[in-house]
Amino acid sequence: RPVNIPRKEKDFQGMLEYKKEDEPKLVKNLILELKPRGVAVNLIPGLPAYILFMCVRHADYLNDDQKVRSLLTSTINSIKKVLKKRGDDFETVSFWLSNTCRFLHCLKQYSGEEGFMKHNTSRQNEHCLTNFDLAEYRQVLSDLAIQIYQQLVRVLENILQPMIVSGMLEHETIQGMSGVKPTGLRKRTSSIADEGAYTLDSILQQLGSFHSVMCQHGMDPELIKQVVKQMFYIVGAITLNNLLLRKDMCSWSKGMQIRYNVSQLEEWLRDKNLVNSGAKETLEPLIQAAQLLQVKKKTDEDAEAICSMCNALTTAQIVKVLFLYTPVNEFEERVSVSFIRTIQVRLRDRKDSPQLLMDAKHTFPVTFPFNPSSLALETIQIPTSLGLGFISRV
């Protein structure tokens, strides 16, 4: 048995040595059986990625290309296996997305390529790979990260979807608004159903929970922004699509409620310092639809104002909202057919899509900007809870 002789950290070279026959045990304990919610919650963010990279470094130092290839292949396949098994769990998917990106960043940061070394300390530069160029494996890892990202989007979509119509459209949070219902329309949901219904707060809490999990896993801030933008797009698209299909959602008071809800979502972005994520911009069609419910819809001037205001809505969407618009009381009139015609004529030259509904399944392309770490590899210690006693610091 190896004897652990305490050494000073400066003696370590930031590598981890393991026997070739221990590779299955390494990926089993570090990837396949690691529980993001149990052991991993106390780890430094990205620790599995750093450990795997330090193992790659040692195999590179030995100039053992087979060992490097084998470890990288096992790592990639094990991550895929975990995601197949627990791919509907947000924490698992977020955890492995964060670690795959960190592993990819390490392979760049220590590649020896000048472009990736700008922020390295001189000690970090000493830790660059010596024998192998792993650019092709970086490409595979980047492809894997894209797959995991798409899976993350599917998971959060499944969780958010049932909340959106209820929280963004049906539930009323503005006091006194429930009294101004469109005339002649009954509420769709019974009061019993309402009690269990999701509110805007449920959505905000869910967004907060996604955000805190991603932060806990050390996900790259630029990647978190892309996830948040995608979440906001889903909320905006599903809300708008339902508004376009439901007459009871097209009233002045619903417009008010939606604008309030959007302001709360914007407040959430400000609170999380995510104003520059592009998330708010994805709500623009919904914001304009809500404004359309509230503006005057009578004169030629009103038509002109609507046409210049609603540039994020298609003609089909504008016309549909106007058709569905339902007065809240007897003093208000429906939108006249001639007014809708005026709008249609004015918008005739617009070359927009004839589609009525937004593509709620649209996924924005993801990028993984290089994010080097200041962590010194030689200081990394492996917690005994990981069950990796068979690897040793070098």
């Binding site: 290309d65 490097v68 092709e136």
Partner: protein
Amino acid sequence: STQRPRPRVLLKAPTLAEMEEMTTSEEEESP
């Protein structure tokens, strides 16, 4: 300078899909 020369040997990698095929066939072969 502490900078090392750029690594020289490019390790060819299979694509993600090829990697999966490799594992699937290995798994099928094993009892």
